[in-house]
């Protein structure tokens, strides 16, 4: 059983939730903790390509998301119904090493982790 699942449900720039979640995941990676990241609901907007956050005076969150692999964080899960509801396809995402999950698979994911950090 894996240790920590980080659930990220918010869009990237209006609040700090999405950035806070990624920072927590990166910290877990730096401590060699087994951590997974689930992007769901508004959180899937974080995966959109061609974000250009300087337009609102911020740094691109998608770049931080792409950096996860460099830190050895490979368990990135995406709730597929959340993508579909937003007309986002796998091809339109800024990451390709993600695992798309159905509702059923997402329920099973919660059972595979010992702790959840909720964002």
């Amino acid at each position: 059983m894996s240790r920590i699942l980080c659930v990220s449900r918010h869009a990237p720039y209006q609040t700090s939730h999405a950035n806070d979640a990624l920072d927590a995941v990166l910290a877990a990676g730096a401590f060699d903790q087994d951590i997974g990241l689930l992007l769901i609901d508004e959180g899937v907007w974080q995966l959109v390509t061609q974000q250009d956050a300087p337009y609102v005076g911020k740094k691109d969150l998608s770049k931080k998301l792409c950096a996860l692999a460099l830190y050895g964080i490979e368990n990135i899960f995406v709730h597929e119904p959340s993508l579909q509801g937003r007309l986002l396809t796998r091809d339109s995402l800024c990451l390709d090493n993600v695992q798309l999950l159905t509702n059923k698979e997402t329920r099973q994911l919660f059972d595979q982790y010992e702790q959840i950090l909720s964002f």
Partner: protein, 132 residues
């Protein structure tokens, strides 16, 4: 069976109810003889560590109540340093480092990094987030 808990507080004392819920939960935790491995104040939760919060006298002073709780039960209360600096919460060390004219972190809390959240979670039986 007593368990070890990590509690994550994400809400400010004013403008969200979640800090209040988190404190009530922590009181019930110690009532039931569970252990608080650490309380981690993240995002807007860092404002609970401000010594300058001054609600009207006939209202609950949530930062004061957090400080009392932390000191009474000798709990490790860590405020995320990055989240705190972004929101204007700092201790005297950070005041010196950034050459600011004041510090406002209450004595019951300490500033540290996200590693403290991860380490606490990894060694706890339960982790609960109070979001805002």
């Amino acid at each position: 069976m007593p368990m070890k808990y990590t509690v994550v507080v994400m809400g400010a004392p004013e403008g969200s109810q979640s800090s209040r819920t988190a404190l009530a939960f922590c009181h019930a935790l110690v009532d039931q003889n569970h252990t608080l491995e650490r309380i981690f104040f993240y995002a807007d939760g860092v404002h609970n560590a401000s010594m300058l919060v001054t609600p009207p006298q006939d209202e609950q002073n949530l930062p004061a109540d957090w400080s009392n709780f932390i000191q009474q039960y000798d709990v490790d209360a860590v405020v995320c340093i990055a989240a705190a600096l972004r929101r204007g919460i700092m201790d005297t060390d950070e005041q010196s480092r950034y050459q600011k004219s004041a510090a406002n972190l209450s004595a019951a809390f300490s500033l540290s990094g996200l590693g403290q959240l991860i380490a606490a979670t990894a060694s706890s039986d339960r982790t609960i987030t109070f979001g805002a």
